[in-house]
């Protein structure tokens, strides 16, 4: 029998028995049906699978599901408010055309939320360096950087 874990996912308590080698990304996608975390690589470089673990951005492919025992997870599905109102970061990505195909977007948005929680007023260079672990093939990052700085401004206010 697999070991039981209990995690809080987007505010809901979830108990499950993932296999010892189940990655958190696979657990979210395949066992909880939260397909917003995307898997774009197998070497932990692309960042499409980023989720917030106790508020910190983590590539969910670098962590075993069992290591999340007791943690509070926020995935892209849980970022908007209960009434469906978008988080300022989501709003800013839409307003500034910070996404195209949408595949890297969940990771970008959650990674950016973590950045702004650490640094409420990041410079362009700070945003670009922070995004080292998130690959986007569509946007050339121009509008992503713009989106994040715009969101930071709103979140500071």
């Amino acid at each position: 029998m697999s070991e039981q874990i209990t995690v809080t996912v987007n505010g809901d308590t979830v108990s499950a028995r993932p296999a010892a080698n189940t990655l958190l990304s696979a657990f979210l996608r395949e066992e909880l049906g939260l397909t917003g975390a995307h898997v774009g690589c197998d070497t932990s470089q692309c960042g499409a699978c980023v989720v917030l673990v106790d508020g910190k951005s983590v590539k969910s492919c670098t962590m075993l599901a069992r290591q999340a025992d007791g943690a509070s997870l926020t995935t892209i599905e849980g970022l908007a408010g209960d009434g469906g109102e978008l988080h300022p970061m989501q709003e800013a990505f839409r307003d500034n055309h910070g996404l195209q195909c949408g595949f890297c977007t969940p990771g970008m948005v959650l990674s950016a939320v973590d950045l702004v929680s650490r640094n409420p007023d990041p410079s362009e260079g700070e945003v670009r360096r922070w995004l080292e672990g998130n690959i986007c093939r569509c946007t050339g990052y121009h509008n992503i950087v713009k989106s994040i700085r715009a969101a930071a401004k709103v979140m500071r206010a």
Binding site: R29, L34, T35, G36, A37, H38, V39, G40, C41, D42, T43, Q45, C46, A48, T75, I76, E77, L79, A80, L86, Q90, F93, R94, D95, H97, L99, Q100, C101, G102, F103, C104, T105, P106, V109, E124, G125, V127, R128, R129, L131, E132, N134, I135, C136, R137, C138, T139, G140, Y141, H142, N143, I144, V145
Partner: protein, 791 residues
């Protein structure tokens, strides 16, 4: 370009994208997000050898492993058709290209690292992966053909034993005699050898395919990461699996980027579709990234010698190029046409060069197949032309902008017939040149060079004046050039009884924002609310037909098809309105969403007409069918020709060779713009890929054909920190032959950026006292540093 929030939801408005709501909340539906009850998982065993005979495959242990439903090899699939090629090129001597079979699973020999050899299907992904480890393949490694030049030499290892050699075709275009004559009388000849580096497309979503089969109805369904589901249905149904269209549905749901790599029909798609029917269970395959590296079609990979002849005044007299183009081990769907009809035909660029000759030898090698990647042939042509023009400027001491200006086709010369088959309909190249030079403060460069020098950096400026041909067409012409498909687009516009509209388009969207842009076109044309228009794409069961999305054709061909269908709606609406208003059909005008009797205040709203069409109580039933739904197939009269000027400034660190992009300015003429915000985003993305090619990205094979740059650790994808903020603007000359006056914007950045970068790096080094004619891409610190040490 105005990308500010706008109240204009019609043509020209930077409307916020409707698709973002789902993508931003993790509610997109990508292929791997789809799970079908009872689904099984496929894993492919792939060749680790670039070239090997396969003496036998032992699948017994894998077949007996836990959860395994089936293990398939070529023994089971040998009666399935090979993966087809959609374009046949003929050589100089009139002979058709060599077209070896591309089996869905390797038959007797593996021809590149990654060639699929066996397919293992199990109840879970993990079981399939574990069982794949148990398949034992008896390989007999053979010498591999890797380098193109060596592959053409006598005695080279042959990729396909049944072919005379590794030459696929030896093609030419242009008037060789006229070119030779012009060279004989030239005042100056510039020569350049260059390599267009091999790239790996790397859409961030890996390919994925799910096959499903209904044994009662005999219907097959394929969910796949495709840019063109109807093309997949046609190729796979007709050529590979022999399934008629009415029993084969192909769905391409949300797709996470394509850049060309998801145009092609891949063996895995056919195999999951076939296997689902064999085992009577849905079969899902999702590529791991390392699998993508060795199975997605690669891009570029040309080796070229080029010569440009000039007269004493710097006028171009003639251009000739000789290119080796890598096909890889098999011919991918559009591979043969990329280095020929999408490359040789573009060699006039923006210039009135009177004579051009181009020859291309396509070569089989033991590498992954090479096909279209963002720009497809046009970046290669632009790189040759814009590098050699820059080199000619350096050799003749003429300013690079001035030399280009002297040779540009003038506005009054349109329509302009180039010596390489294309006829440009419209453009104003000096206008984009002037706009770019001004916006980039080209005149002030020397001051910035001095500033950089004071900080110990070498600064350079580089120009690139590109042209591209988008919306490949028309069908009869491309057919005569070897295309095995038409290149029109289809659209159905369905007006519902209460006046809302659903548009079914064959243009697939995988990041381009069609659901927004196309809705803007329709709402603008019909004068109805933007939110009353829904766009449906990506499902052959819903959309009547389509050729899909590639070559920047969505708005120019797909958008035009929608516009044509809307025109038919309006024409029918006028007939209905004429009946209701008791007026002659010729007296009805359609303005601002209403059908009016010209010169009167009598009118019927669009909604009234829609309702009347479906509740035809007062209706000319004897001459007009009820309902309001129209389909159009639009086959363009010509390509469209976007063009522009890019100005790039770089700083080179003389100690490390590190190149930093200091500024990048793009001025593009895309014709009319529907959504400037989206257009700007397309330019940004193209620029990132162009800069990536020029500075970072490179696909490397070793001499034995092992893929060395096969992960994100070794293949350098552009990160945010590698790129600058871009300055982009546009000029407009409207396309003359499509109803929207649009040209297409998807590939421009990837086409125009690489030569601007390399020109800037060469300029920086030479400005810093070095003497360098050319640097091959990518201009990595190591390469730049080594160049500085040797010259």
């Amino acid at each position: 370009m105005n990308a500010n929030a706008t109240t204009n939801s019609g043509i020209g408005g930077s409307v916020r994208r409707r698709e973002d709501s789902r993508f931003l909340q993790g509610r997109g539906k990508y292929t791997d997000d789809i799970n079908i009850a009872g689904q099984t998982y496929a894993v492919f065993v792939r060749s680790p050898h670039a070239h090997a005979r396969i003496n036998g495959i032992d699948t017994a242990a894998a077949a007996a492993a836990e959860g395994v439903a089936a293990v398939f090899t070529a023994e089971h699939t040998k009666d399935i058709g090979g993966v087809p090629t959609g374009w046949q090129v003929h050589s100089k001597d009139g002979e058709p290209m060599a077209e070896p079979k591309h089996p869905v699973l390797a038959e007797g020999a593996a021809r590149h690292v990654g060639d699929p050899v066996a397919m293992v299907i199990a109840a879970t992904r993990r079981q399939a992966r574990d069982a794949a480890e148990l398949v034992t393949v008896d390989y007999d490694p053979q010498p591999a053909a890797v380098d193109m030049k060596a592959a053409l030499a006598d005695g080279a290892a042959k990729v396909h034993g049944d072919l005379p050699g590794n030459l696929c075709y030896d093609w030419e275009l242009g008037d060789k005699a006229a070119v030779d004559e012009a060279f004989a009388g030239a005042a100056h000849v510039t020569k350049l050898d260059l390599v267009n580096n091999r790239l790996i497309p790397n859409a961030v979503e890996p390919r994925c395919a799910i096959g499903d089969y209904d044994s009662v109805s005999g219907e097959h369904t394929l969910y796949t990461t495709s840019q063109n589901p109807h093309v997949i249905r046609l190729l796979m149904g007709a050529f590979v699996l022999s399934i008629p269209e009415h029993k084969l549905r192909v769905v391409a749901p949300d797709v996470g980027g394509g850049f060309g790599s998801k145009i092609f029909h891949y063996a895995e798609e056919a195999l999951v579709t076939w296997a689902a029917a064999q085992i009577k269970k849905p079969v899902k395959w999702t590529a791991e990234r390392s699998e993508s590296f060795m199975s997605d079609a690669h891009g570029r990979d040309h080796v070229t010698h080029a010569e440009l002849a000039l007269d004493a005044n710097g006028k171009f007299l003639a251009l000739r190029c000789s290119t080796l183009a890598n096909m890889g081990a098999y011919l991918s769907t559009f591979a043969p046409c990329i280095p020929t009809y999408l490359h040789g035909t573009l060699l006039a660029g923006q210039y009135a060069t009177p004579a051009i000759y181009c020859e291309v030898k396509a070569v089989f090698t033991n590498t992954v197949p090479v096909d279209a990647y963002r720009g497809a042939g046009r970046p290669e042509a632009t790189f040759i032309l814009e590098r050699i023009v820059d080199q000619a400027a350096a050799e003749t001491g003429v300013d690079p902008a001035e030399l280009r200006r002297r040779n540009m086709i003038q506005p009054e010369q349109f329509p302009y017939q180039t010596p390489v088959a294309l006829q440009y309909d419209t453009g104003n190249y000096e206008a984009t040149l002037d706009q770019a030079l001004k916006a980039a403060d080209y005149a002030g460069f020397e001051a910035r060079r001095k500033q950089s020098a004071a900080a110990g950096k070498l600064r350079g400026v580089g120009l690139s004046c590109y042209i591209e041909a988008c919306g490949i067409a028309p069908s009869n012409v491309v057919g005569s050039l070897g295309a095995r498909a038409g290149l029109y687009e289809a659209a159905t516009v369905r007006v519902n009884p209460t006046g809302s509209v659903v548009v079914f388009t064959g243009s697939h969207a995988h990041g381009q924002g069609h659901e927004t842009t196309f809705a803007q076109v329709v709402s603008d044309m019909l004068g109805i609310d933007y939110d009353a228009v829904e766009i449906v794409h990506g499902d052959t069961a819903k959309v009547p037909f389509g050729m899909g999305t590639y070559g920047s054709r969505s708005i120019a061909v797909g958008g035009a098809a929608i516009a044509k269908a809307v025109d038919k709606i309006i024409a029918k609406g006028k007939k209905i309105a004429a009946h209701l208003l008791e007026a002659g059909e010729g007296d009805i005008v359609f303005e601002n969403g209403a059908f009016k009797v010209a010169g009167t205040d009598r009118e019927k709203s669009f909604g009234d007409i829609a309702l009347t069409a479906y509740v035809p109580h007062q209706y000319p039933l004897e001459s007009l069918e009820p309902g309001l739904e129209e389909t159009a197939f639009y086959d363009p009269a010509n390509f469209t020709y976007p063009a522009g000027t890019y100005v790039c400034e770089v700083e080179v660190d003389p100690d490390t060779g590190q190149v930093t992009v200091a500024s990048f300015h793009a001025s593009d003429d895309f014709g009319n713009l529907i959504n400037p915000m989206i257009v700007e985003g397309q330019v940004h993305g193209g620029l990132a890929q162009g800069i990536g090619q020029a500075l970072l990205e490179n696909c490397v094979y070793d001499a034995e054909g092992q893929l060395l740059s096969g992960s994100y650790m070794d293949y350098c994808m552009p990160r945010a920190d590698d790129l600058p903020s871009f300055q982009v603007d546009t000029t407009v000359t409207a396309c003359t032959h499509n109803p929207l006056g649009v040209k297409g914007c998807g590939e421009a950045g990837a086409i125009g950026a690489p030569p601007a970068l390399i020109n800037a790096v060469v300029n920086a080094l030479n400005g810093g006292g070095h003497s360098i004619a050319h640097l091959d891409m990518p201009a990595t610190p190591q390469k730049v540093w080594a160049a500085m040490q040797s010259n």
